[in-house]
C-alpha cells in the first residue's frame, strides 16, 4: 500500500475549474437540445401519421439500444467520411443531445399519454386555439408530471459527459487525464474528480427542485 499525495492535484485547481466549467456548459447545452428533441420525438411517436410514428420510434429505439460511446465515435470519426467534419466540442454536444433526447422523448411521451382526453376536449369547448391547447393543456401538465424522471435523466446526461473525454474534449475527465499525465498521481486525481462529480450531481439535483417551483408553481399551491 502506497501513500496518497494530493498536492499535485490540488495545486492545479485552475485546470480543474476549467474542466468543471466546460462539463457544466456542455451538459447544459445538451440538456436544452435534449429537451427540444425529446418533445419532438414524443410528438412524432404519438403522431397520427404512420411514417412519422415510425421515425419517432426508430429514433428512440436505435439510440436507447446502442452505447453512447459508439454513437459519439460514429459522429466524430464516422461523419468525416461523409464529408462532415466536426470539432470535438460540437460533436460532443450533438452526440449528447441526440442520446439524451431519445430517453427524454420516451419519458415525455408517457407524460403526454397520461393526460386525460377530456382535458383536451374541454379546452376545445372553451375555444382555445390549437397552440394554446398544446402549450397549456398538453405540454405544461405533461412536463410537470414527468419532471422528476426528466431531471433524473439529465443527471445521467451530466455523468455521460465524462465519456466525451474519449474524443479529447477537455472537460473534467479530460482535464483529469491531462493532470494524470503531469503528476503521475493517477488514483488521487480520479478520486478528486469523483468527489467533484458527486458535488455537481448534488447541485444539479437541488437546482432541478428549485426550477420545479419556478416552472410549475401550481404543483405547490396549498402545500
Amino acid at each position: 500500500m502506497g501513500y496518497l499525495d494530493f498536492s499535485g492535484v490540488l495545486s492545479r485547481t485552475d485546470l480543474l475549474l476549467q474542466g468543471v466549467t466546460l462539463t457544466v456548459e456542455v451538459s447544459l447545452v445538451a440538456m436544452f437540445f435534449a429537451l427540444c428533441l425529446g418533445v419532438t420525438g414524443a410528438l412524432l411517436s404519438l403522431s397520427r401519421l404512420r411514417i412519422l410514428r415510425f421515425v419517432g420510434l426508430a429514433y428512440v429505439e436505435a439510440i436507447r439500444n446502442t452505447p453512447f460511446i459508439v454513437q459519439l465515435f460514429m459522429i466524430y470519426f464516422g461523419l468525416p467520411s461523409l464529408g462532415l467534419h466536426l470539432e470535438p466540442i460540437p460533436a460532443a454536444i450533438i452526440a449528447m443531445s441526440i442520446y439524451g433526447g431519445a430517453y427524454t422523448s420516451e419519458i415525455i411521451r408517457g407524460g403526454i399519454q397520461s393526460i386525460d382526453r377530456g382535458q383536451i376536449e374541454s379546452a376545445k369547448a372553451l375555444g382555445m386555439s390549437p397552440y394554446q391547447i398544446f402549450r397549456y393543456v398538453i405540454l405544461q401538465p405533461a412536463l410537470s408530471a414527468v419532471f422528476l424522471s426528466v431531471s433524473a435523466q439529465f443527471i445521467l446526461l451530466l455523468l455521460s459527459s465524462s465519456v466525451v473525454s474519449a474524443i479529447s474534449v477537455p472537460e473534467l475527465t479530460g482535464i483529469g487525464n491531462d493532470i494524470q499525465g503531469m503528476t503521475l498521481r493517477n488514483l488521487e486525481i480520479y478520486l478528486v474528480i469523483a468527489v467533484i462529480y458527486v458535488a455537481l450531481v448534488a447541485v444539479l439535483k437541488g437546482s432541478m427542485q428549485a426550477l420545479e417551483r419556478v416552472f410549475f408553481p401550481f404543483k405547490f399551491v396549498g402545500r
Partner: protein, 214 residues
C-alpha cells in the same frame, strides 16, 4: 496501406461481442449479490445501516462510470493487489451494478403492501422468514422488468471498458476502424451488434411490465 473491411473483421468483432456479454453477465451476478445486500440494508430498519447503504448508492450513482473504472483500475495497483485489468474492471462494474440494483430492489420490496409484513408478523413468522416467504416472492415480479432494463444499460455501458483497454466489442471496433479506415461502416456494424443484443431484451422488459400492470 489500409486493409479492406472484410468478414474477417466482422468475426473479430463478434469475438469482442462475446467479451461484452461476458463482462455484463459477471457484473450482473456480482452486482446482484451486493445489490441484494444493499437493498436489505435499506429496508432492514436500522437507521445507521440504511444510511450507509444510501450513501454508497448516492456516491456510486453520482460518479460517472468511467471515473469508477479509472479508480478501480489504479486503486487495485495502489493497494498492491496484483490482478489483471479485466478483473479490476469486472469488480468495478459489479460495484456500479450493485448501486443501481440495490436501489431498484429496495423500491420493489417497499412496494409490497405493508399489511403483508404486519400479517406475517402477527402469524409469528421471524423477520428472515417474512422476507423469504412473504416479501421477496411478491417483490420479484415487480423487480424483474426494471432489472432487465438495467441489464440492457449494463451491456451498453461495458463499452466504456474499451477506454481502459479491455478488448470488448467497442475496442475491437476501434482496432478494426484503425486498420481499415472505414470508421462509419465499422461503428455502424458495432452499433448493429449492440442493437441485436439489447433490443430483444428491451422488448422483453417492456412486455413483462405490461403483463404486470394488466
Amino acid at each position: 496501406m489500409f486493409q479492406p473491411y472484410t468478414l474477417t473483421h466482422v468475426y473479430y468483432m463478434l469475438g469482442g461481442l462475446c467479451w461484452t456479454i461476458g463482462l455484463a453477465f459477471v457484473a450482473l451476478i456480482g452486482g446482484s449479490i451486493a445489490g441484494a445486500v444493499l437493498a436489505l440494508m435499506r429496508v432492514g430498519g436500522n437507521r445507521i445501516v440504511s444510511k450507509c447503504a444510501q450513501f454508497y448508492i448516492f456516491v456510486l450513482q453520482g460518479t460517472p462510470l468511467l471515473i469508477t473504472l479509472f479508480i478501480a483500475y489504479f486503486g487495485a495497483a495502489y493497494m498492491g493487489i496484483d490482478v489483471k485489468p479485466i478483473v479490476a474492471i469486472a469488480v468495478a462494474f459489479s460495484f456500479y451494478a450493485a448501486a443501481f440494483l440495490g436501489d431498484i430492489w429496495r423500491g420493489a420490496i417497499e412496494s409490497v403492501p405493508k399489511g403483508q409484513r404486519e400479517g406475517a408478523h402477527a402469524l409469528g413468522l421471524s423477520a428472515f422468514d417474512t422476507m423469504r416467504q412473504i416479501i421477496v416472492p411478491q417483490a420479484v415480479p415487480i423487480a424483474i422488468p426494471p432489472t432487465v432494463g438495467f441489464f440492457v444499460m449494463l451491456i451498453k455501458n461495458t463499452s466504456l471498458a474499451s477506454i481502459v483497454g479491455i478488448v470488448e466489442l467497442t475496442r475491437t471496433a476501434q482496432i478494426v476502424s484503425n486498420a481499415t479506415f472505414k470508421p462509419l461502416d465499422v461503428y455502424l456494424t458495432a452499433a448493429a451488434f449492440y442493437f441485436i443484443v439489447c433490443f430483444p431484451l428491451t422488448m422483453f422488459s417492456r412486455h413483462l411490465e405490461k403483463r404486470l400492470n394488466a
